[in-house]
Every structure is written in C-alpha cells, then in structure tokens.
C-alpha cells in the first residue's frame, strides 16, 4: 500500500544531503516523441499556463509544447482526478482509457496518503475512487521554484516527490530526467528504451539535481521559519481561545473554496436521483448547515466555530485517526481565499502568542 508513510517523514531534516536514486536521461527532442505517444495512448493531462495561472489541461498532439515543467503548482490539486466534484456512484464502471497525469507536485502526491486511507481502507472501499486510482499513472515533478504560499517543508514534506508517484520527472535545459517509483513506472521507463535513446544520468547531473533540491528545500524552510510544525500547530489550535478564530473568521464568507481546493479535504454529500441512483458530490464543512440534523441542531452554526472546525479537523482530529498528514503545505487555501485569510498568519500568531 503506497502512501501511508508521509507522517513518518515529518521528522526528515531537509538540511541533510538530498540523495537522488538512479535516474535516466532522455533528450527533449526524443521526449517530444514520447509525449505524442502519451497523447495517443492515454487521457493525458499536464500543467499548462492559461490566463496567468497554471492548471492541468488535456494534452493532445497539438499542445505538447505548452507543457510547463517543474514549476509549482497546478491551481487544482490532483485530488480532482480521483474525487471529481460530482460522480454517480451507482453507475456501472465501464472501461475507461487509462489516465496519465504528469506534473504532480510533491505536496499533492503526499496528499494521496490520506485520500487512500479514507477511500481504500477504513472497512469500506469506494470502488469508484479505487478504479480511478488503479487506472491512473502519476508522473511527479520536482519543484524547481517556489510560489508565495508554499510551505511543504514545514510539515516534513520535501519539494520533490518521495512517495506515491509512478515516475518522477525533472527537466534540466534540453534534457528530461526520469526516475521510476513503482512497478508500473519501471515498466514504462523500460518500454521507452524500445523507442528513444535512454541513458543513465551521470554523477554530475545527479549532483546538479541534488543541489537544486537542497536549494529549494532550504529556501522554503527559511521562508517559513516562523511557521509552527504540524504537531505543534495541532497543540496550539487545541489550546487556543475563541478570540483569534472570531478575528480571522470576520472576513470569511463561507464560500468553501479553502476546502474545495484542498488536496486533503474529502468530505462529500450524497445526492439521491430517481432509480436509487446516488451522486457523490464534494462538500465543505465551511458551508452553513454542513452538520445540521433534521431536528435543527447544528454544532457548526456559528461562523467562527465552523471556521475553526477545518483547522481542528486537519491538525487535531485527523492525526488521531489517520497515519497520513492532513495538510501538506500546498498553500492553496491561502491563495484562493477571497476573504484574504492566511492560515499561516493565523498559525504564526498562535505560535507567537504562546511564546509571549
């Protein structure tokens, strides 16, 4: 079972020398031919720049040249491929073309840990999730740059994939470096040898990648040095008074964007359709009425309580029930908030209050 050991990585010190396992190199020219083959064989998605933001796009034979490499991070997380906003969960699962998703950053791959625990385990397997997972190939990207709210290293996740990928990809200038991370990935890389020139990466090249990794990891750690770690955040939230939540929730409009965009938020609503059909639709604890019962009681009726609930869920409660981390530091909830609420500012404030 992949993906349940992210929590153990919490204590990985990003300052240690970052080792890179065996990698192979393909020239960018040859890689273009590979991409065309991908576009023909799979439902192939990769990050593309569009109107100032980057997100996964369906790649066909026309737009392989638009693919962005090693830049964080697609606007939506890879969660949306496995838990679509709406899915009929009583329909037949028919044969689908396998999906190839390229360009998944480390934070989103780490987030698959808790999704897998939730949907594949816990006594009940969701066959729709399982089918999509089984039918997908994930190509992870190293992040060779950072964007404003990235904070994966604060939670023990490195800005380069270590888990849950089939192939890892780093592009340096006119070469593409690949490292298989699963049996599926090993088979795919091996198959490439039949079509294009595949050589082993040199020590120099690997050294170069390692240095890049270290530089990015260090810069993230430096940038977020005031941010409390995952476990400490849980304790701070648990011990916090109500004032800070009232203050930060004052600009919250309960739009639920933070939960919708979150790679680890998985709550849903079941909607009934005639014919005993059921539709699983992503839901958010930030919407009013999320926990309301028929007789009217609603533990999350008050906005500050509802707002705090999401933090408690991620940092206090999920760690009790799940092995995988429930926030991977992608920062999208901060990017997306129309109330300009920064989770990190809130947590930093809690940490500074404690020190004071």
């Amino acid at each position: 079972m992949q993906g349940c050991n992210n929590f153990n990585n919490l204590f990985v010190n990003s300052f240690i020398l970052i080792m890179v396992d065996k990698m192979v190199v393909i020239s960018m020219t040859d890689w273009q031919a590979v991409l065309l083959q991908f576009a023909r064989s799979y439902s192939f998605f990769a990050p593309v720049q569009f109107n100032g933001s980057m997100d996964y796009e369906l790649i066909d034979e026309e737009n392989t040249g638009d693919i962005i490499y090693n830049h964080p991070k697609p606007s939506t997380s890879v969660k949306t491929f496995f838990l679509p906003v709406k899915e009929n969960v009583t329909a037949d699962i028919r044969y689908q073309k396998p999906t190839l998703i390229m360009g998944v950053p480390s934070c989103d791959l780490a987030a698959l840990g808790i999704l897998d625990e939730m949907y594949l385990n816990r006594d009940y397997t969701d066959i729709y999730y399982k089918n999509r997972r089984k039918n997908s190939i994930l190509i992870g990207y190293d992040c060779n740059s950072t964007v404003e709210n990235c904070h994966c290293t604060s939670y023990g996740i490195n800005p380069f994939p270590e888990n849950n990928f089939d192939i890892l990809l780093v592009r340096l200038d006119e070469n593409v470096f690949l490292q298989p991370g699963s049996e599926k990935g090993i088979a795919m890389v091996k198959e490439l040898e039949n079509h294009v020139k595949v050589v082993e990466a040199s020590e120099n090249e690997i050294q170069h990648i390692s240095e890049k990794r270290k530089k990015i990891a260090d810069s993230l750690t430096q940038k977020n040095k005031k941010l409390p770690g995952y476990e400490l955040s849980g304790r701070l939230i648990n011990e916090s008074g109500s004032e800070i939540w009232k203050s930060y929730a004052s600009t919250c409009v309960s739009c639920g964007a933070c939960a919708t965009i979150c790679p680890t938020c998985t709550c849903f609503l079941l909607i009934d359709r005639p014919g005993f059909e059921k539709v699983r639709q992503l839901d958010a604890c930030q919407y009013p009425g999320f926990e309301r019962v028929a007789a009217g009681e609603d533990p999350l009726e008050e906005l500050p309580v509802r707002f705090m609930n999401r933090y408690q869920c991620k940092y206090v409660w999920k760690p009790v029930k799940f092995k995988s981390i429930a926030c991977t530091g992608c920062g999208r909830c901060i990017d997306t908030c129309i109330g300009k609420i920064s989770k990190n500012e809130l947590l930093e404030e809690l940490a500074s209050e404690e020190k004071a």
Partner: protein, 273 residues
C-alpha cells in the same frame, strides 16, 4: 473478495405504516433478502429519488425478514416518508456503526432512559434484553414524552410492564385527563427508580437537551462516566466514515458510534448540539 458498491442500497418493500403519534410513524419493511443488524446500529434509508437519512431500527434484531423503522416528521426527507403508503419500494444501506454493548449489560441492573422518538432504538434494545432475560438482573425503563398523544408504542409498553424483571416508568411534560402516570420531564423519573448503582449500567437516548440533563442527573445520582452509554444523533450521511458530516471531534459518529460510552466523548466539542 470482490469489491461491492458501498453506495448501492438493498431494496425493501414497505408493508405497513403504523401511526404511533401525531408526529411519529413506524414503517415495517420487507428487505429483498435477509437483513441482520445488532441492536443500536443504524441504517441509511433511501426514499427513491428524494433523499436518504439515518435511522436506528426499532424492531428486534432477532427478526431477520422484517425491519421496522420509527420516524419522527422533522425535515424534508422524513416529511416525504410520512406520506408513503404500503407497497412503496425503499432502499436500505447498512447496518452501520457500533451498537449497544450487550456484553456490558449482561449481569447488570440496566437503567434505560428515553425521551420522545429516542424510544425507537431503545425498543430494539428492550426486545433484545427481553430475549436475553436470563442474562440480566433487571431492566428499569424511564420514558418521557411531551404529552400523552406523543407517547409512542402504547401497546408495547403494556406488554413490557407484564414481563418479569422489567419495570416501566412514564412521564409527560403536559398531562391531560387520560393520563394517570407521572407529569414532568423525563429526568425527574430518575428520582423514583430503585437501582443498585454499583451493579448498574445506564443507556440514554432522546433529544439532545434531554440526554444532556439525563447524563447530568445520572452522574449526580452516583453513576460514573464509564457506566453511561449514549446514542448520538448527528448528520450521518454516508454511514461509512467518509463524508465527514457526522464528525464529532476526532470521532466519526457513524463509524465509531452512534453508541458511545460517556467518558469516550465527554471532552469532544458540541456533543449536545
């Protein structure tokens, strides 16, 4: 094992609708195949094309070919269910969660405290305890409802009173000329009962406010937190520990409950809401 679809309900035919009170009806269903549950576990009942809601069966867990669900008209789905006529085909998913801890009740003096429609899951428990009469010391059942008309399962109560080892105390908030029993809130009945608290386990089910004051009263009487079991009512939507609607602190009520020992949950936020 082949994966089954956890969202697909079993079909069940509605055989009979019993009017228990002006706001509460019982629905007797015949599932398309044998359906087993442990007392206190709940099911998700689907009204085709309309919605799904969680209910704890009120029938005996020993009966496998019929299942009875007692439903108070409270929201959108229950309103529509109340309008159903026999012959309708409904859907059942489950059973889900952790039911009543029978092993903890055997050998004890069991104090069962119910309010309003909270009698529904408790009736299933009482049926079970009746069948296991030899394994228990006694059952004291305290039940409160708003008024005599809202007092449900009247014929069943009469039967229960006649059973050896079972004592029944009833109260209504507001009495009328037909009422010859106690008047006042359900917790008041606890002043009347005689139980050896050291030998006793209490089970409480009812509206949140009644459960809150019921637990307070039991603790005042000398019950320890570990001797009190509660059936929590939350918005259990999937029943599978996934959808998140029933989270109560770290607990998924649908999976970790709905029956909890008081000490397990007393520090979680908003348990009475």
């Amino acid at each position: 094992m082949k994966d089954t679809n956890i969202y697909n309900p079993l079909r069940a035919k509605l055989l009979e609708v019993i009017e228990e009170s002006p706001t509460i009806k019982s629905f007797v269903l015949e599932p398309e195949r044998e359906f087993s549950f442990a007392t206190g576990q709940f099911i998700e009942l689907t009204l085709n094309g309309t919605g799904e809601a969680p209910f704890t069966p009120s029938s005996s867990p020993l009966v496998k070919d019929r299942i009875e669900i007692t439903i108070m008209r409270a929201g959108y789905v229950t309103e529509k269910i109340h309008a159903l006529k026999p012959g309708e085909v409904m859907g059942i998913r489950g059973p889900y969660g952790r039911g009543y801890p029978l092993d903890e009740l055997y050998g004890k003096e069991i104090l069962v405290v119910g309010g309003g429609c909270g009698f529904a899951p408790l009736r299933s428990l009482l049926y079970n305890l009746e069948a296991d009469k030899d394994k228990i010391k006694k059952v004291t059942f305290c039940y409160g409802s708003k008024n005599p008309a809202e007092c449900i399962y009247k014929p069943y109560i009469e039967n229960l009173k006649a059973i050896e080892k079972f004592e029944v105390y009833r109260t209504v908030d507001v009495a009328d000329e037909t009422w010859a029993e106690e008047v006042g809130v359900a917790t008041m009945l606890l002043d009347k009962v005689e139980v050896n608290i050291e030998q006793s386990t209490a089970v409480v089910c009812g509206p949140p406010v009644m459960m809150k004051y019921g637990v307070m009263k039991l603790l005042e009487m000398g019950y320890r937190d570990e001797q009190v079991y509660l059936s929590m009512e939350k918005n259990m939507s999937c029943g599978l520990g996934k959808c998140g609607h029933c989270m109560m602190g770290e607990f998924f009520v649908c999976k970790d409950g709905p029956v909890f020992r008081y000490d397990e949950i007393k520090d979680q936020p908003d348990i009475w809401k």
